[in-house]
């Protein structure tokens, strides 16, 4: 189908207050590790129709400008420091902003959207040779001629994880309503290394968890399969997720009920393993979680704090019984989630710093990655003259390997357990997923289909 999104113009939006020159902000090890990735998000809004669309975009730009005063890291540019690590020079250069027009209305668009089309709503440029002149964040404002607006935000993973990116949007929304930002961004390094009197590192502990996972990623050669990926988006209602959670428990088990993430992650793990034709066991999988609370970071912390960890299954599992598969998977996931604690994370950070990690590695090259974005609440980003977002999509690019599953909250539902799952897979797998019985058992609403 012909492109119906036309870019009207491209410019740079700067903050309203001049920054004191000579400020630099360093990037943490976790930030630097994510150099090869970038995030793309789209927020869809229905407009009230009172303001002409051109005026709405202008107002948004003005509020963006005001908001950027609080985010000097976003308007700065990348530089390498003495050790060859990335840092940000707060030079007030600004954020590239594009304006586009699309035909039709936003509802019409949402009925027919697929990955390719959605990505047209959020502009992205890969890092230039000279990153000092490269904008790290991009905003695209697309007006739908018959009503509605889409705000596309893309940024390099070096500076922010999806949680920070949504906080950025929320801050923008707060300013547009004339309020102060609810959790103003704070830029500080990750908590410092602990003092020397910590418990001795027991090398005998087989479960090194995070460190071993990261180590394996670094040591594994990158082998990128040439394949076409597509994304599907499914919405699970509150009741369905509840049903899923109860199904994920072993019958008659007294252990605490799994969380929605555990259950849904388990569901997709099991299903995708089946689709990919893995009979005994499951496909290699890692989960990605936000560890802000574990690290005790403030709400406004701006920087990467999402970690990946491999999920292994216990030995001697009886996987022949298909009824056991789902609960086993869910339990394995829950174990990994529960095991991550402050000490382990600090160990990882220390290890990464000491080993001066070369950041040309990518996290998601091989395994199936299931990311929990439950702490993200994109639907809080309510702008003046527009109401709550009617849809939110998030992509963590580029995707390779077995694929990527993102679990996001879904507020359009009545209950708090509703979720939206965005799955990026190879085309054939995606088609099979939509038709899989196990998934269909939970009557998901298909929000975004695969490209035919």
């Amino acid at each position: 189908m012909a492109t119906t999104v036309n870019i009207v113009c491209k410019r740079t939006v700067v903050s309203t207050k001049a920054i004191e020159p000579g400020k630099y902000l360093p990037l943490s090890v976790l930030d630097r590790f994510m150099e090869k990735n970038h995030i793309r998000m789209v927020y869809y809004y229905q407009t009230s129709g009172e303001l002409e669309l051109g005026k709405l975009t202008k107002k948004l730009r003005e509020t963006l400008s005001e908001m950027l005063t609080h985010f000097p890291i976003v308007t700065g540019r990348l530089l390498r420091d003495d050790m060859g690590h990335w840092k940000i020079k707060c030079n007030d250069a600004g954020v590239r902003t594009l304006e586009a027009k699309a035909k039709g209305s936003v509802e019409e668009w949402l009925r027919n959207v697929d990955r390719e089309k959605e990505l047209e709503l959020v502009y992205w440029e890969d890092m230039l040779e000279k990153p000092y002149y490269w904008s790290t964040f991009y905003v695209q404002l697309t007006e739908f001629e018959e009503g509605g607006l889409a705000i596309g935000l893309s940024c390099t993973h070096l500076l922010a994880d999806p949680i920070c990116a949504t906080r950025f949007m929320k801050a923008w929304a707060d300013i547009s309503l004339g309020n102060k930002i609810t959790s103003p961004p704070i830029f500080h390094p990750l908590p410092p290394q602990r003092s020397q009197n910590k418990k001795p590192n027991n090398n005998s502990n087989p479960y090194m968890g995070l460190i071993s996972h990261y180590k394996s990623i670094i040591e594994k050669p990158i082998f990128v399969k040439e394949a076409k990926y597509t994304t599907i988006s499914m919405g699970f209602s509150h009741h369905m997720v509840q049903a899923c959670m109860s199904m994920a428990q072993f019958i008659g088990s007294s252990s605490p009920s799994p969380t929605p993430f555990d259950a849904l992650a388990g569901l997709f793990w099991v299903t995708l393993s089946k689709i990919k034709g893995i009979k005994n066991g499951f496909v290699d999988m890692s989960i990605c979680l936000d560890v802000r609370k574990i690290l005790g970071l403030d709400q406004g912390f701006f920087g990467n704090s999402m970690l990946y960890n491999k999920v292994h299954l216990e030995e001697n599992l009886n996987l022949d019984l298909t009824e056991n598969k789902f609960p086993q998977a869910t339990r394995a996931i829950r174990d990994v989630v529960a095991k991550i604690d402050n000490d382990e994370i600090m160990d990882l950070i220390e290890w990464l710093e000491n080993n001066d990690v070369n950041s040309s590695k990518m996290m998601n090259v091989h395994d199936l990655i299931i990311t929990s974005l439950e702490d993200v609440d994109p639907y809080l980003a309510m702008f003046q003259d527009m109401f709550k977002p009617i849809r939110f999509s998030c992509y963590i690019e580029p995707v390779f390997g077995e694929g990527h599953v993102l679990i996001l909250p879904n507020p359009l539902d009545e209950g708090p357990l509703g979720r939206v799952v965005m799955v990026t897979l190879e085309e054939e797998d995606a088609i099979k997923l939509c038709e899989d019985d196990f998934i269909l058992l939970f009557s998901p609403t298909i929000l975004m289909k695969c490209v035919k």
């Binding site: 309203t16 001049a18 920054i19 730009r61 400008s65 540019r77 030079n91 600004g94 002149y133």
Partner: protein
């Protein structure tokens, strides 16, 4: 340049000698009259009232003689008052404050430059060097259409910029002066590089529904000194039309003139010119005298266009690729210096106190007759003026004038700070500078201000104003939110 006196100018004694000399020469008439008057009064007292009466009667004046002499006195007085030029008052003025969203920090400017001129790194380097040494700050503004990558200078956006700048300034002026649009008798708009049809003055008349018998003028092509040319024109018109109000709008519309090519001599204006405008209300009504801020004393215009080099030094032309831009020659500063000298030669006798003029005359005669090697005496204009507004054309211009006129840092502070905060706003920069001085609370009743502007052609125009009433801070204007941060120290080179 030290005067002809021996070189112990650092001595304090010389300072007092100078002060004494100045006081003596400047007040010579008073000083000679006072002894005479004292003498006469003493004589009269000595004579006594009877003697005075006898003296009066001996004159034998009869009625006819008395009547004739009184008529003569009245006649001479009337002729004098009729032929005196009308006083022109500057009631108030308003400067345009650009919206914060139009701000262009150095980093953004350089990035855009790099993205647009990606095939010409040398040109980008050049722009960077100019910007580093320009004396501009991080808060100068460019119009919205120049923010696009690549810039989109359409006629519509140029009109949009003109409307934004001019109407904002005029609304602000109406608010400050309480002037009603119907009361404007003369309208002069000057904008050098954008001249649409209908003209910008017609645009103003249309927007504010001004009277159909308004005398409107639109001056274009006259460069950065056009602001003072408009003031001069307004003055002449106000001599002819009694009881009138004139509004002068000075601006420069950047949108259509952003050079899109790569010639270095033509990239310079891109780095310096920024959005700005001012609207000024002048009047010859005596009712305005009380609330006017200034009174116009002199306007001196000097045109060096007769000299070919001066004529060509700021020249608008097409480059090799056919892109239009304004090229600045390297001898610009020298020509500016020459033009200034011409202007001063005319201005000097009008404003300098007698002491300075005498010294200048003596040195002039001395050089002609006795010894041509005597250094020419540069009159001390600081005695003629309390405030100086030098067109913020660029750092080099201000430096040059500071050197030539031997001004202190405080005298050129208004110009430097205007360049830093607003950039080169062409003809309106003088009004931003004046506003700076007022915002700092330095403008007192009786202070004299000298506005100097340079422009293509090559022209050097000056205006002299006298402050009519002390202006109290805080004042509403473009400096309102940032005056407390100024003056700032502007480094020689800003590292980008």
């Amino acid at each position: 340049m030290p005067p002809i006196l021996p070189d112990f100018s650092s001595s304090v004694k010389l300072k007092y000698v100078k002060l004494g000399y100045q006081y003596l020469v400047n007040h010579i008439i008073t000083l000679t009259l006072i002894p005479i008057m004292i003498g006469v009064t003493i004589e009269l007292i000595r004579l006594g009232p009877n003697e005075i009466l006898n003296l009066w009667n001996s004159l034998n004046l009869n009625l006819v003689q008395i009547l004739c002499s009184s008529f003569l006195v009245i006649f001479i007085a009337t002729v004098y008052f009729m032929s005196k030029p009308r006083t022109i008052y500057l009631v108030d003025y308003a400067c345009f404050k650009p919206p914060v969203t139009c701000r262009v920090p150095f980093a953004t400017f350089m990035e855009h430059s790099r993205l647009i001129l990606k095939d010409n790194p040398k040109s980008v380097e050049f722009q960077m060097r100019i910007l580093e040494r320009s004396g501009l700050g991080e808060e100068t503004c460019l119009p919205p259409s120049i923010h696009y990558i690549p810039p989109k200078p359409t006629m519509e956006s140029a009109r949009g910029e003109a409307e934004l700048v001019i109407f904002s300034a005029m609304d602000s002026l109406f608010e400050k002066t309480g002037l009603k649009p119907k009361d404007i008798d003369i309208l002069i708009v000057n904008c050098s590089l954008f001249s649409p049809t209908p003209s910008l003055s017609a645009m103003v008349i249309n927007k504010y529904k001004l009277r159909s018998n308004i005398k409107s003028f639109n001056l274009s092509g006259m460069g950065c000194s056009a602001g003072l040319i408009s003031i001069d024109l307004a003055r002449d018109l106000l001599q002819v039309h009694p009881n009138s109000n004139a509004v002068v709008v000075s601006t420069e519309i950047i949108t259509p003139n952003y050079y899109q090519g790569k010639e270095r001599a033509m990239l310079l204006p891109n780095c310096l010119f920024r959005m700005g405008g001012a609207a000024i209300m002048l009047s010859n009504r005596t009712t305005e005298k009380r609330r006017s801020k200034y009174r116009l004393v002199h306007v001196v215009r000097t045109h060096k266009g007769g000299d070919d080099k001066a004529y060509k030094c700021v020249y608008e032309e097409e480059d090799r690729e056919g892109k239009v831009g304004i090229s600045l020659q390297k001898d610009l500063m020298a020509i500016a210096g020459e033009a200034l000298k011409s202007n001063i030669t005319t201005m000097g006798p009008l404003v300098l106190p007698a002491s300075e003029q005498l010294l200048f005359l003596i040195t002039l005669i001395g050089r002609k007759i006795f010894n041509p090697k005597w250094k020419p005496y540069i009159p001390d204009f600081k005695q003629a003026f309390e405030h100086f507004c030098i067109h913020a054309g660029g750092r080099a211009v201000i430096d040059e004038l500071q050197k030539n006129l031997q001004l202190s840092t405080e005298h050129v502070e208004a110009s430097r700070m205007t360049l830093h905060r607003f950039g080169n706003t062409s003809s309106s920069s003088l009004w931003y500078e004046l506003n700076y001085i007022e915002s700092k609370g330095r403008m007192k009743k009786g202070d004299r201000v000298w506005q100097i502007a340079f422009g293509s052609g090559f022209k050097c125009n000056s205006a002299v104003w006298k402050c009519n009433r002390s202006i109290k801070t805080p004042i509403d204007g473009p400096w309102a939110d940032c005056i407390d941060r100024y003056p700032v120290h502007i480094p020689e080179i800003v590292k980008l």
